[in-house]
């Protein structure tokens, strides 16, 4: 991100396109103060509150069977919904970025829809679609499948809210790359699958990883849509965010929700770390050619 031009001018005393140093440092100061109070302190607070009941209290919340069940459910839900959305994202990016067809703009708008539907409304839609009163719900029930207030509903809700992440990330990158490389590979005798696997996929890999980690972070942290379609039974249909809220309602153990929240905060930190790493990797590749 460092631009040689701005670095060059920084060494000169003060060029015509730079602010008074006082203004500069005042702006930096305000930005840093705002960011620390508004972003850093809330993060530190999660950990401080979690350990306010001591290490013993922290472990006993995490070792609670209901907490462990919520961790398992969150991993299961992310484990199903993320790969499906990745498969969709890659297929959609391939079709949209490499081919021209009528209705492409409309398809793109449809892919973005879940971003502009409130997660709560998304949950409500699923209840209407697969609930006990609906046609589909009754048919599924007759075949022994309960969707709403059970795990399949949570998976569907998560799939809905994390739907666009991978596709949105991949489409612009694949469009940028055009199709010359793939055409060359095909002329040289590669099969379609080989072309995709050895030419297209490696060139978008950082974007793909980036999409996956964002999709995963959202899938594990989703609350709104999931809370509507979950029966919220501890140990059965509580995901980690739902578990945090439930522990929060218990005023006798104020540190307990924070203990589970530290795990989600760590997820956020790992996501951010990976994201910075991928950006750095991407820049490095851009520079080397």
């Amino acid at each position: 991100m460092s631009q040689p031009a701005s670095n060059g001018t920084a060494r000169r005393p003060r060029s015509s396109t730079q602010e008074n140093p006082w203004v500069k440092w005042l702006l930096i100061g305000i930005a840093c103060l705002f960011a620390s109070l508004f972003l850093l302190v809330p993060l530190i607070n999660v950990f401080a509150q979690a350990f306010s009941a001591g290490l013993g209290g922290y472990w006993s919340t995490l070792k609670d069977p209901d907490t462990i069940a919520s961790i398992r459910l969150t991993l299961l839900v992310a484990g199903i919904s993320v790969p499906l959305n990745v498969a969709f994202g890659v297929a959609a990016a391939w079709a949209i970025a490499k081919f021209d067809f009528p209705g492409k703009a409309m398809l793109l708008t449809f892919i973005d829809l879940p971003f502009s539907v409130s997660p709560v409304v998304a949950g409500l839609m699923l209840v209407l679609m697969c609930g006990a009163k609906s046609f589909l719900g009754q048919w599924l029930e007759a075949h022994g499948i309960t969707v709403i207030f059970a795990v399949p509903g949570i998976v569907l809700a998560t799939m809905f809210v994390t739907f666009p992440f991978v596709a949105r990330e991949l489409i612009p990158i694949m469009e940028d790359q055009g199709r010359e490389q793939e055409e060359a590979a095909l002329i040289l005798g590669a099969s379609g699958w080989q072309t995709f696997w050895h030419v297209s996929l490696p060139s978008v890999r950082w974007g793909l990883f980036y999409g996956i980690i964002l999709c995963n972070a959202r899938a594990m942290g989703e609350y709104g849509a999931v809370s509507v379609v979950s029966s919220r039974i501890a140990g059965k249909t509580d995901t980690m965010p739902l578990r945090v809220e439930k522990l929060y309602q218990d005023f006798n153990h104020p540190a307990a929700p924070f203990a589970v929240a530290t795990l989600l905060a760590l997820l956020a930190l790992v996501t951010l770390g990976l994201k910075s790493y991928l950006e750095w990797k991407n820049e490095e590749e851009d520079e080397s050619g």
Binding site: M1, Q3, S6, S16, T17, E19, L27, I28, F34, A35, F38, L39, V41, P42, L43, N45, V46, Q49, A87, F88, A91, A92, A95, F99, F101, L107, L113, P114, S116, V117, S118, P119, V120, L124, M125, L128, M129, F160, L186, G192, T195, F196, A217, M220, G221, E222, Y223, G224, S227, V228, P241, V244, E245, F258, A261, L264, A265, L267, L269, K275
Partner: protein, 279 residues
């Protein structure tokens, strides 16, 4: 399109168009379009007067008002602080810049339940901030808390929208302004700010849209009392939990109408903003 000159799939030697497009359309229909269609069909089967009463009850109107008002104030705060952060991150080099840059994405990566939890705690009477603010009459579980939570979740949108545009801004224009005798402030107000304005407005719109849909952090922070701190999504859930389906659908339709109107405005805004990016 004339068949002999079509530049579509015919002259494109790449394989897999049919299968990938087929899968895309099928998956999209099953996961996204079908649920939306069910909501719309269901709402058609309800009586319009029921829906209208549900969607325009006093409690509902208050909830929309708070949702729109709080999102607006939060987006405004984000436009100010987000632009400041973007400016500082792009234009200045200082120790800790990379860290600050990473920190901006934090609200995006942090599950909103955790954001709500920690903000509620910070501004509670015993919290680190509430300890000082409560005696001043600034309390967390109020409309102030709602604005706070929405500002938190919307911040990355305004920073990340502005940042790339600011990076690509042509310095030559600023130099020209300086040569023509404009001071730094004058250059900023008459040259830089107008160029950035459409982008800042886009970021504002994105943060606003994010705020309208937000639900979780509000439950933690505001205690969501009807006619006081209840926002539209919490009202929809409250009605759903009371098995008042038409009431919930009414609110849901209004919320969807808001977000689609916003989506179209944003698309138009982004088109407008992109005209300013290349001189």
């Amino acid at each position: 399109m004339r068949p002999n000159r079509s530049k579509g799939t015919k002259s494109n030697p790449l394989p897999g168009f049919g299968i990938t497009l087929g899968f895309t359309v099928m998956y999209l229909s099953a996961v996204v379009l079908l649920p939306i269609a069910v909501l719309l069909i269901k709402s058609l089967s309800l009586s319009w007067s029921d829906l209208w009463t549900a969607a325009t009850s006093r409690r509902a109107l208050y909830a929309y008002g708070l949702s729109l008002g709080a999102s607006f104030v939060a987006a405004l705060l984000n436009a100010v602080f987000g632009s400041l952060l973007a400016w500082v991150l792009v234009r200045y080099r200082f120790p800790g810049r990379r860290f600050l840059d990473g920190l901006v994405d934090f609200p995006f990566a942090l599950p909103t339940a955790v954001a709500g939890l920690t903000l509620a705690n910070l501004f509670s009477a015993n919290g680190w901030f509430g300890h000082y603010l409560t005696p001043l009459g600034i309390e967390g579980p109020t409309r102030f808390g709602v604005v706070l939570a929405l500002t938190f979740v919307g911040l990355p949108f305004s920073v990340r929208t502005l940042q790339p545009v600011l990076e690509n801004l042509d310095k030559g224009v600023e130099e020209a302004a300086a040569i023509l005798g404009a001071g730094r402030l004058r250059t900023f107000v008459s040259v830089i700010a107008p160029t950035l304005f459409p982008t800042i407005l886009t970021g504002f719109g994105l943060a606003f849209a994010r705020g309208l849909g937000e639900y979780v952090s509000i439950i933690f922070i505001s205690g969501n009392k009807p006619m006081e701190t209840e926002i539209a999504p919490t009202l929809a859930v409250a009605r759903l939990e009371a098995f008042d389906y038409s009431g919930a659908i009414g609110v849901a339709l209004v919320l969807m109408a808001f977000s689609f109107a916003l989506l179209f405005t944003l698309n138009w805004l982004q088109g407008w903003a992109s005209k300013f990016q290349r001189p």
